[in-house]
Symmetry: C2
Subunit: 312 residues, 2 copies
């Protein structure tokens, strides 16, 4: 199997911008499976990439400040992965484009796709066909290179949002990279991706942060936190996520997120009316259908590979 | 220690109305620790109490349909625990009061307190001093007698909301029962209790049910569930809770819950404006203070014994 993966997907040079949890885990995974040659890490700050070098995640550590090293990093690159916060996409691509060779494919790991594609079109212009947008659905509560794991992507979905300009072989090459890391790949449009993740990921994060903020702002916050138990713990686990990342996601996926937030406010209006008027039947019906859907979701494995348009 | 507990808290007969997760776990725990004599289980339906009898959780199984058995159950009882859904409180107490002896204390395990106290006053009248309202902060995703555990209360908070009519010894006796089951006891007013739990428990449940309902109602529900991952899983774990129980809680704690829901809607309006106007600084500040509070809460053990007015 490992031999198949390597023969189906050989490449010699991978360049990762942002060697944290996401980029570092891909590097570890591909190296462990013998699916990549040299891995170059490029960071905003020297300390992060140097730590990745020490940990053996990458072979060469480069910072954006060093133009010559950047040029050198991109020379002969097979694949460039952007694994920095999505707000940096345009700037990074503008730094990359002068050195981008014709055979190099660029992909990303951003949680939002329409904005990333806009940024890529602005930065890459006529070379947009070299950019294949992607989103691995994997993460951990902790972030940074120390949290990287070689098995992070095993069995996880990776969504690719191919552009009309992408050659099918280019999309397949990026998909094969993720499959080599153990992931299951599928494709959908960027608009569909952004709607789906606004609903199942971005909105819950916003709602979780909002609940903690509300308790914090209340006069008896200390007492409330003292008696918060298991329900609060699970509901707010994602409120311990990176503020910078989630600020960027909210702004990058603004349109889809606002639509979900407005629909949610509508749900709360409906629930409020049922509570206020004592409409127990309406409450029980809503709770029961939610419970049934949540239980069914859990029973089929908590997540499921989309059969929308799978690559494989 | 166990010897101390028993000598500080000897009783011969415990009657539990509703032998499910909550009532069953208390029975198992007290029996295992030798802190109770006979345990009588009273249920709405024969099958549940009979199953508890088979499992050795109780010594006698009684149903509400059998008036003579009910009278017998309450004869010489030291403590009566109501562990049925809160909406049944008044009916149960009306059934109990004709047989309630002067030495018997009644307590409950309901998630809401003001409504339970209203129901108790209506049913018990001049004998209200015998009722000590309580709420063990413990639970599991599964319910029913099969889910009962002897260690469910170990290290958990139990909140008592003493009435002005309660003798201090009566409150202490109920507190001692919970401590014998391994719990840590504290007291607060019913109004304070209902505000605290509306914020940290009831509101998150409503929000979690609402999110699943919103996804269900959307045209691409199937695709969304397919790509829902860890954040969704944790945020919606409590949406698998009992619809009947949560309907009752919402109605029973209507006033405090509506206040929290309105405050939350205000939070969402604030967040919506920040997203809509692209106010990244406001978003990041809100997310950062929530993350800090959530992380601090986790680090101090996820919950903490209230020092508001501890019994011990």
């Amino acid at each position: 199997m490992s031999g198949d993966v390597v023969s189906a997907f050989p490449f010699n040079k991978l360049v990762i911008f942002g060697v944290g949890l996401i980029g570092g885990s891909l590097a570890l995974s591909l190296r462990e499976r013998g699916a990549t040659g040299r891995v170059i890490g490029v960071g905003r700050h020297a300390h992060a990439v140097e730590r990745a070098l020490e940990l053996g995640v990458i072979d060469v550590a480069t910072t954006l400040a060093d133009e010559a090293a950047l040029a050198d990093a991109l020379k002969g690159a097979d694949i460039v992965l952007l694994a920095a916060p999505v707000a940096q996409t345009r700037t990074l691509l503008e730094r990359i484009v002068p050195y981008l060779e014709a055979q190099t494919l660029v992909t990303d790991a951003g949680s939002t796709k329409s904005d990333v594609i806009d940024a890529a079109r602005a930065a890459l212009g006529a070379r947009i066909a070299q950019f294949v947008p992607g989103h691995p659905i994997a993460g951990r509560e902790s972030s940074g290179i120390e949290a990287a794991l070689p098995d992070l992507y095993v069995g996880r979905n990776v969504v690719l949002c191919p552009l009309p300009e992408n050659a099918p072989q280019a999309v397949e090459r990026i998909a094969a990279m993720w499959r080599a890391a153990g992931a299951v790949t599928g494709t959908m449009s960027a608009a569909q991706h952004d709607r789906v993740f606004a609903a199942v990921s971005h909105l819950p994060h916003v709602l979780s942060f909002a609940l903690v903020d509300q308790i914090l702002a209340s006069p008896d916050a200390e007492l409330k936190f003292s008696f918060a138990a298991g329900g609060f713990r699970d509901f707010t686990r994602i409120a311990a996520s990176s503020p910078e990342m989630w600020r960027d996601v909210c702004l990058a996926n603004r349109t889809a997120l606002l639509a979900e937030l407005d629909a949610y406010t509508g749900e709360l209006v409906k629930l409020r009316a049922a509570i206020d008027t004592g409409d127990g039947a309406a409450l029980e019906a809503l709770f029961a259908r939610s419970r049934e859907a949540r239980t069914a979701w859990q029973e089929r494995g908590g997540r499921r590979v989309a059969d929308a348009s799978p690559d494989k």
